[in-house]
């Protein structure tokens, strides 16, 4: 599984990364987590804002810190 956190590195982006990593650990799933900080790369996902979470190429959340329960649902599907 490939998870990308889109965001320039602000507090909300950092918090999003933390939540996502916690969920992955809790689910016991192997996943590669990558931070995408470049504005052009972020724009290529067509998101209105950041932070955003992309799982296996699909954008799951935009402009807010996701809840751990939601991340668990996304990664356990």
């Amino acid at each position: 599984m490939e998870v990308k956190i889109l965001g320039p590195g602000c507090p909300k982006c950092e918090q999003t990364e933390k939540v996502v990593k916690e969920a992955i650990k809790e689910a016991g799933i192997e996943a590669k987590v990558e931070k995408v900080k470049d504005a052009v790369d972020i724009a290529s996902y067509g998101v209105f804002g950041t932070p955003a979470v992309v799982i296996d190429g699909e954008v799951k959340c935009v402009g807010k810190i996701p809840k751990k329960e939601d991340v668990l649902k996304w990664i356990q599907k």
Binding site: C10, V47, C61
Partner: protein
Amino acid sequence: MGEECCATGSGQNGVTMILSCSGGSNVGQLANQAAVELTQEGYGRMFCLAGIGGHLSGFVQSAKDVDRLVVLDGCEIGCSKAILDHLEIPMTTYLVLTEELGIEKNKDFNLKREEIEKVKEIAKKAGKMTRTESGATGSVCCA
């Protein structure tokens, strides 16, 4: 992108997303021009309805997660609304320009300044849109 960026706010820092049908008629282009100018003036940010219609996940999820969504359809056919309904994306404000302005749909693309201004005023009032610093920027940070 400073430290303050994205530090507060529950959603995308309260930025209003503006979608217009941008269709091939006077009212479609009136909706488009009003959306462009509202963006330039900082009342919100126009976003790509085509990306949503194409079911591209970044566009669809952005529309689902935004705090306020103002939608401008040129005529009562309601193409923008149909796209959003199909994807179960809720709108905060919805305007049909032929109904709001009482003007007829035609193929005259010479838009009248007074009509553009009227659409903007109606949208601002209906959508409770306020001017923000971040509204008109192209920044990706927290919308």
